[in-house]
Symmetry: C2
Subunit: 227 residues, 2 copies
């Protein structure tokens, strides 16, 4: 709530949040909230904007929220981080077929300065683009078995909120996007600012967390159509 | 992710989310996400919509997200729950002066079927309307001392994620709106559905939680202008 400036003079960090129809609201709202608080606490070091995949008008999952994104994929400003939130597996399956998204992810990954962050099932989009091959990654624990089977070149990490492979950060289910964002703020602004945001959100930040085996009926299998 | 119908045949539960300019995104995104998952799991028992206080176009805190609300205060459908998310104290101070909001809260509270839920600093709006007098309530721990001093007729409860006074539910800081929403789903659909949403969000639901005394510089005092 207060303005407490960051002692380190550093460049602005720009964060693009990719939005698309049927995206899960909490997957991107958590990171935006963290970077918003970080912006307040650092006198504007963090700049976040939203980018619509196909158009500026975005409807979140089940049509719950109609959002007007700041930019589209064609015209968004250069950014340091690209955050890709998740969706239900039926939506992710459709996005995997979208060549423009796959080539966008590949292209952004080539740039040495850009970091890509997935939340929840969006790890499938990165995996599908091949940019996680040979790396460690995580995803929602409901889909972890399927992910591991489908992408044998990726080393799946379980029981973590996020995996940081420097250039690519993958986070696990839904609210773990908050932890990944807090991790990024910690990297650039230190533990004090990170802790202040943690307390401002009344959230308990953490990287390691054990989840049970996904319960029967909630476990995703690629051969089964789920929504 | 799956459709698991609720065994109890019950009426639809309609939830209005009140939005206004400079509202904190996470305060309402968490509850929407919970009710969205509840809707999936109960074959549509939960119906959530957004209501703009002054207009349909809403800009969240720091202008991060532009949202088009479903309704405005003048024309929104009858609802069982009205969720009021919070904002920074400077925004709350302005909202307290808004007679139309205060009389709206008072009027809705008179209706015996309507339940009002505040997230974070929105407890000030309910307290200001007088509907919490003689009741227990909570708010963000940063502002708890100020709240207690300002509203001596309300019994402040610390170290909880939410307080349920049947007709009014108040929750503490930002992410605790998720817990309040999970509590509501538990009330209407039972612990199994509540637990499934908990796991789907990879979130750890809880009511009791100890927070330290708000750190110096983060503690809100009404005489000091904070943002």
């Amino acid at each position: 709530m207060n303005d407490i400036s960051n002692k380190n003079t550093q460049d602005t960090i720009t964060i693009a949040i990719l939005l698309y129809d049927n995206v899960v609201l909490q997957d991107f709202a958590g990171p935006i909230e963290v970077f918003d608080k970080a912006q307040n606490l650092t006198k504007g070091k963090y700049k976040t904007f939203t980018v619509g995949l196909k158009s500026k008008e975005i409807h979140t999952e089940n049509n719950h929220l109609k959002i007007i994104a700041d930019y589209t994929l064609d015209n968004f400003p250069k950014s340091d981080y690209i955050i890709i939130p998740g969706a239900s597996m039926s939506v992710i399956k459709e996005l995997i077929k979208d060549e423009s998204l796959t080539s966008f992810i590949k292209k952004e990954n080539v740039s040495p300065k850009i970091k890509i962050v997935s939340v929840c099932t969006a790890s499938y989009l990165l995996a599908n683009a091949g940019i996680l091959d040979g790396k460690k990654a995580t995803t929602h624990y409901f889909v972890a078995d399927d992910f591991e089977k489908r992408f044998p070149k990726i080393q799946l990490v379980r029981n973590v909120r996020f995996v940081d492979e420097e250039k690519i950060i993958t986070s696990s289910g839904v609210t773990s996007g908050i932890d990944a964002a807090l991790h990024i703020v910690g990297r650039h602004s230190g533990e004090m600012i990170q802790g202040m945001i943690n307390r401002a959100l009344q959230y308990t930040y953490g990287q390691n967390e054990t989840w049970p085996v996904a319960p029967q009926g909630m476990r995703y299998r690629s051969e089964k159509q789920t929504n």
